[in-house]
């Protein structure tokens, strides 16, 4: 099956979240989703823009929708939840005449028509799905215990993001389950990690990310799978800073879910940017493999013991 989607990477994908970009592209290609980069895309404004002015934010986002429209794309996917929120907000509010007028004034041109947008997670979930993924898994992530962390805005507010449950989203869980991983129940799927406060208010980010790392550990996770470049940065790159403030020693790898997905699909590690993870994934994968092997050995031993003994008397009727 093939699907053609516009692709809006967002500013972090060229820099601090390059591995999210490369692994997303690699997975989509392997699973038959064609990503067409939005030509000449520019920054959507993200959080800073909307905290300064809603029309400015709308104009910055709308410019990219125009680019997509002009390129003949009928849907735009983006890996970054903040970009997605910006694009969706602009798209939704352009139906208001006053908003549209001001955005057009800032743009210096006509606003775009309606443009559906979605996360790359949604694209993978809806166009390929758990079954589609399972069919293509080459190296199941057996034994790897994953806490799926969606971040605060990927599914919220539900009226805007309109995908998955805002309190207990499951798209990532199901995809990684299909990859053979053991997805652990994780109550902090949508708790904020500190977002863009890492630089201006490190203390807040440290507290919030510590909470997430602590809960993931509590739930027995080996890794936290993420779908947001900012979450990933706070939890992975800044895990040391979190440890320092919390007096903890977390050593929890935080791969992008597309990196895990790519691994399961048998894609080359270079395409997935695994080397860019600050907390390396390899030890967790090795431990998982060892656990899986051990469990398999035990199961085999049990099966052998069973077959070796006398067959059990099979009684059918359960009643008197």
């Amino acid at each position: 099956m093939s699907a053609r989607l516009g692709y809006y990477p967002g500013c972090s994908q060229s820099g601090t979240a390059a591995e999210y970009d490369s692994s997303t592209r690699a997975c989509c290609k392997a699973l038959g989703i064609e990503l067409v980069d939005v030509p000449d895309w520019t920054c959507c404004g993200s959080t800073p823009a909307h905290t300064v002015d809603h029309h400015l934010a709308g104009a910055l986002a709308a410019r990219n929708l125009i680019q997509a429209e002009t390129a003949g794309l009928d849907c735009v996917a983006t890996p970054c939840p903040s970009c997605l929120s910006a694009l969706k907000t602009a798209d939704a509010h352009l139906c208001d005449a006053a908003y549209k007028a001001e955005v057009e004034r800032l743009l210096g041109r006509a606003a775009p028509g309606p443009m559906p947008t979605q996360s790359t997670l949604q694209a993978l979930y809806e166009k390929v799905g758990a079954q589609g993924v399972a069919a293509q898994v080459k190296r199941p992530l057996t034994g790897l215990r994953v806490a799926c962390y969606y971040g605060c805005i990927l599914n919220r507010p539900p009226g805007l993001m309109a995908f998955d449950d805002p309190e207990n989203p499951v798209a990532m869980d199901e995809l990684l389950n299909a990859c053979g991983a053991e997805v652990v129940p994780f109550p902090f799927k949508t708790e904020c990690c500190g977002a863009a406060f890492a630089m201006p208010r490190l203390d807040m980010m440290q507290r919030l990310s510590a909470r997430i790392l602590g809960m993931a550990q509590n739930c027995g996770a080996d890794v936290i799978a993420v779908a947001c470049p900012l979450c990933q940065m706070n939890l992975d790159l800044r895990q040391g800073q979190v440890n320092a403030a919390a007096g903890a020693q977390y050593a929890m790898p935080v791969p992008y879910f597309t990196q895990l997905l790519g691994l399961a699909l048998g894609l080359p590690a270079a395409d997935l940017g695994l080397a860019k993870l600050v907390l390396p994934l390899a030890p967790a994968l090795e431990a998982a493999a060892a656990r899986a092997a051990e469990a398999e050995a035990k199961r085999q031993a049990k099966a052998n013991a069973k077959n070796g003994g006398t067959p059990r008397n099979q009684e059918d009727a359960p009643c008197a």
Binding site: P187, F188, P318
Partner: protein, 660 residues
């Protein structure tokens, strides 16, 4: 013809935006009008007396009153006209309040419109004919749908009043939600101890016929003569032989059936008696979980039954009952907390609903009255109650208050502290609604005597941590986020309409609101009647309410029924369809289009067919009259000539005013 017209001021209601004197003056010029006046309050005693007097003094043949909606006072004025000596149908009403005065502030246009409406009424009156209602026999029997406390009370009151009662209950035992409660507020009475005697009465009363595990399938007929088809669902047990000994339940191997009576907190067997005080105390088989009925194996119950009451071949049965009135007492169901993602959406076993908790508190419940955490069976030391789950919440489309949750939460908190003296109970609330007798004192008692901690603020999230549930809420009075590690969380789930309520309403032909609660005739003055004559409401099916209110309403509904059926005969409404046999060509179209089945084709001696209206069934909707190709069937008091008279009057007036 001699017609009198009275134009009402209705105080300021009409007079503020309509020049009523001008309307009366204009009416004086209309053909056949010999008297026209305005009056401050036409419906008042002096107003009515004036009408009666004028009819006699001026020897009027008909009266027009221009005032409010006929829904308000048509009956009032018809009676007045009748007292004056005229046939009550020689009366027309022009609605110049709801249709004129209340919808526009333009006095000039309003006055013109009012005048037009009076003109139309006069013209119709000129072609009106006296009509005579017929009287018909009534069945002195009443159907009560629903066997909860309201249904039981209504049934007992009607039976005491001398009526035969058919009590239909959907579950295998009567008792409803009240039978599931442990104690009731504010007296902390044992619920089933109080209800039990009433249940037994209802089961044993010679006037009450109880159909349990039954539902209303179809309702036809009309007030005084309803015909109700009841589906008695099969129990697979012959209840004339079953003694309720319970031997079958002990031997049944299918033990993993979710126990609906215990709110699915525990399991029961496929064949079971729902609870010890069940009425009827008879076993029934849950076919979905019965090994014999699904797989053809087992049959243990049949073997052990001492009276041979088991009958696997039993089928649903239909019973038809004729009743004079119907009382709907179908109660309510509770909000499904699985819709609340922030409280775990049903994933956390230690987050339970209030009713499930009630079962745990009950000595005859799944834990024999010991409060235990569903997850590990341990006794909880910190219990958190969360109010307003699925109530007062627009985002869940439940904006209303469910009436009893504040009270039952206080009760459950008190009982918790009673059962487990070293426990702590917290209640997260937004407001406390404790407006019944002794209710406020009860809530204060919970806080002051039992040390229940009330925290004002909602809970945003519950999550598991280290075997407990962290409840994160807010104390808005303090202005802080707060949290507590709870062993057990009880959600005060709100009230919803009973499952299937809208479908039943359709069958009974009564209205229901957006939430499925049945609609009363008038929220203040007619809380137990519906707009369908002969169908009454009792209890929470009309809106969430507690036990005292349900019982009071049930007695009120019974009172209404007893009044209705106290007469031997009722009058039928003569505003029904009538066939002019000489015009009828016997095409049968009217018979096919009548939604009530009120038309029959009759064969004449010469073999031709003629339509005939069954007067008692006809509801006066007029569909037949529109369908008839030769205008042989006419709706009395709304015949083609009468309606056209109104139309002509309006067109003529328009011509006249546009010419001038």
């Amino acid at each position: 013809m001699r017609i009198g017209v009275m134009v009402c001021h209705c105080g300021n209601n009409i007079a503020a935006t309509v020049d009523v004197e001008a309307v009366a003056a204009a009416a004086r010029e209309f053909p056949d009008v010999v008297y026209a006046t305005d009056h401050m309050y036409a419906c008042s005693d002096p107003g009515q007396k004036t009408i009666e007097q004028v009819i006699r003094d001026l020897k009027l043949d008909g009266v027009v009153v221009a005032s409010c909606s006929p829904r308000m006072h048509e009956v009032t004025f018809r009676r007045a006209v009748e007292r004056g000596g005229l046939n009550r149908y020689m009366f027309e009403m022009a609605n110049i309040r709801e249709h004129v005065a209340w919808i526009s502030l333009d006095r000039k246009r309003n006055t013109q419109k009012a005048t037009d409406l009076v003109r139309m009424a006069v013209e119709k009156l000129r072609v009106d004919r006296p009509l005579t209602p017929k009287s018909f026999d009534v069945q002195k029997r009443v159907l009560v749908v629903g066997g909860g406390v309201a249904g039981i009370q209504a049934a007992l009151d009607c039976a005491d009043g001398g009526l035969d009662v058919i009590l239909v209950e959907r579950r295998s035992s009567i008792g409803g939600i009240m039978s599931k409660l442990d104690k009731t507020f504010p007296t902390v009475d044992c619920s089933v101890c109080v209800l039990g005697p009433k249940m037994v009465d209802a089961g044993q009363n010679p006037r009450i016929t109880l159909h349990a595990l039954s539902e209303v399938e179809e309702v036809s007929g009309y007030v005084g003569n309803f015909e109700v088809k009841i589906r008695k669902r099969t129990t697979y047990v012959d209840w004339t032989k079953c003694t309720g000994c319970g031997a079958c339940q002990e031997k049944c191997p299918s033990r993993k059936v979710p126990d609906a009576f215990n709110e699915n907190v525990s399991f029961t067997t496929a064949i079971n008696i729902p609870f010890p005080q069940a009425i009827p105390k008879r076993a029934s088989i849950d076919a979905e979980h019965c090994i014999r009925l699904t797989k053809g194996k087992c049959g243990a119950c049949e073997k052990v039954c001492p009276t041979g009451a088991i009958d696997y071949a039993m089928q649903d049965e239909f019973v038809t009952e004729k009743v004079g009135a119907i009382i709907a007492a179908t109660g309510l169901s509770l909000f499904d907390h699985k819709k609340c993602g922030e409280y775990g959406a049903g994933r956390y076993p230690d987050v339970v609903t209030s009713l499930a908790y009630e079962r745990m508190l009950s000595a005859s419940g799944p834990t024999a009255g010991h409060i235990k955490r569903p997850s590990d069976g341990a006794e909880p030391k910190t219990v958190v109650f969360i109010a307003c789950v699925g109530s007062r919440d627009r985002s869940l489309n439940r904006p209303y208050c469910s009436n009893f949750c504040c009270m039952y939460t206080a009760k459950q908190a008190i009982l918790t502290r009673d059962h487990i003296p070293d426990s702590k109970a917290y209640v997260f609330y937004m407001d406390i609604r404790a407006n019944g007798k002794g209710y406020e004192e009860f809530v204060r008692r919970a806080q002051e005597e039992y040390g229940v901690e009330y925290v004002r603020g909602r809970v945003a999230q519950i999550y598991p941590q280290n075997g407990k549930l962290v409840v994160r809420g807010a104390d808005t009075l303090l202005g802080r986020q707060v949290e507590i590690a709870a062993d057990l969380v009880v959600l005060a789930v709100g009230a919803e309409a009973a499952k299937g309520a809208p479908e039943l309403a359709e069958k009974l032909r009564i209205s229901y609101d957006a939430y499925g609660f049945f609609m009363e005739s008038h929220p203040k003055l007619r809380p137990v009647e519906t707009n369908t004559v002969g169908v009454y409401l009792a209890g929470a099916c009309q809106g969430p309410k507690d036990i005292p209110a349900s019982v009071a309403q049930a007695s009120a509904a019974a009172g209404k029924v007893l009044a209705l059926l106290s007469k031997d005969k009722l009058e039928s409404d003569p505003q029904i369809a009538l066939v002019a046999a000489n015009r009828c060509i016997g095409c049968g179209k009217c018979e096919r289009t009548c939604p009530f089945g009120a038309i029959r084709m009759r064969e004449l001696r010469d073999g031709s067919q003629r339509a005939e209206v069954v007067e008692t069934v006809c509801q006066g909707c007029g569909i037949c009259s529109v369908t008839c190709p030769v205008r042989a069937i006419q709706l009395q008091h709304f015949t083609d000539s009468q309606l056209l008279a109104e139309v002509n009057a309006l067109c003529r007036t328009w011509d006249e005013t546009s010419e001038s």
